[in-house]
Symmetry: C2
């Protein structure tokens, strides 16, 4: 057995594991039972050595000479990424991006549950996107507390983002995906991941200009 199977995974590794998981789900849906590190690597776009090195860090159980059982591996990755249980999250700001997230992201397949969505606009409050009816922002504090929400996606305009963020943290939210155009100031115990869409385009622009 040995070492650090239970230590936390580095960011590149956990990132890749979650992408392997999506690939596995797709393979399973196509009736594939087994996959080799080679095939996984071809699909992800890295190499077999890295795939095996990544999987070596979790409780994975490949069969030497036959590759990995898709179902087992999917479960091993889910376990390594702590996807068991049901983490509750909310979306703040139900413009087009908030709607896209509420409507199309398959949280329930990955141990998450979208428990609430919020907006301040009276013409949006009460509408339903995905499974959820939009609540007024004024009910944010009570809702987060009552539904024990621990994560949030922030999809509000730049001016509103820091104040929304402060409120979320005050109510005990531990992780925030920040889609707003402002960087957030947060205490150390809160995890913020910046997802400014323009940056993806800047990267795309740079890479295609080489």
């Amino acid at each position: 057995m040995a070492q650090n199977k239970s230590d936390s995974l580095s960011a590149p590794v956990s990132q890749r594991l979650s992408e392997y998981l999506l690939i596995l789900e797709h393979l399973k849906s196509q009736g594939q039972d087994v996959v080799s590190s080679r095939v996984l690597a071809d699909s992800y776009g890295n190499n077999a050595s890295q795939v095996r090195h990544d999987l070596f860090q979790i409780e994975s159980t490949g069969s030497r000479s036959h590759g990995y059982d898709c179902k087992n591996l999917s479960e091993a990755i889910r376990s390594a990424l702590n996807l068991e249980g049901e983490k509750r999250l909310c979306v703040i700001g139900m413009g087009n991006l908030g709607r896209a997230i509420a409507t199309h992201v398959p949280f329930q397949n990955y141990g998450m549950k979208l428990s609430a969505t919020f907006d301040i606009d009276p013409t949006i409050i009460g509408r339903k996107f995905g499974q959820i009816t939009v609540s007024p922002s004024s009910s944010l504090e009570a809702t987060i507390r009552d539904k024990k929400i621990t994560m949030a996606a922030l999809c509000v305009p730049a001016e509103k983002s820091q104040s929304s963020c402060d409120l979320l943290i005050k109510m005990g939210v531990k992780g925030i995906l920040n889609y707003s155009r402002m960087r957030l100031k947060v205490p150390k115990h809160v995890y913020v991941q910046d997802e400014q869409i323009i940056c993806s385009f800047l990267q795309l622009s740079y890479k295609t200009s080489l």
Copy 2:
């Protein structure tokens, strides 16, 4: 002087440079003329040493003892990221995510121009999001050719993504931001960046579970 100022930047560096650029634009909008590596680092969330090391790789011109002139630095980063000129791009699939991109991403501030948006749904074709009226997917080939579009954001359902992608590549598109839930198969000369939103949430979930 010396070495590799004109060589291409590594992915982590170009990534961070684009985020520094956003921070600089914000500082400028607040009337800040000058910024130190320390302040930039505090805002980005790394350390001053890394900021200087990153900026060292481009034609930046800080003033020892006073920091960097925001305007100069912004221009130096723009130049390093090849943001000069006007790169034309399109969005395929005008559901909520396509609309969010067309409406809220400030392409024109960063050397890009959204030249077309496409959908197959007749109830969406002809509507206007951002500056652009949605075109029918049937006109995709002609439009990409005529408007010399070189980049695309793919926001279509999983089933449609590979065929849309093939068409884009056939018409000469060099870079694709893939928001669809499928990994794409592309020839080596095409750059694809996967942006599956669920992966951001998986990462958030993992980090907040530690």
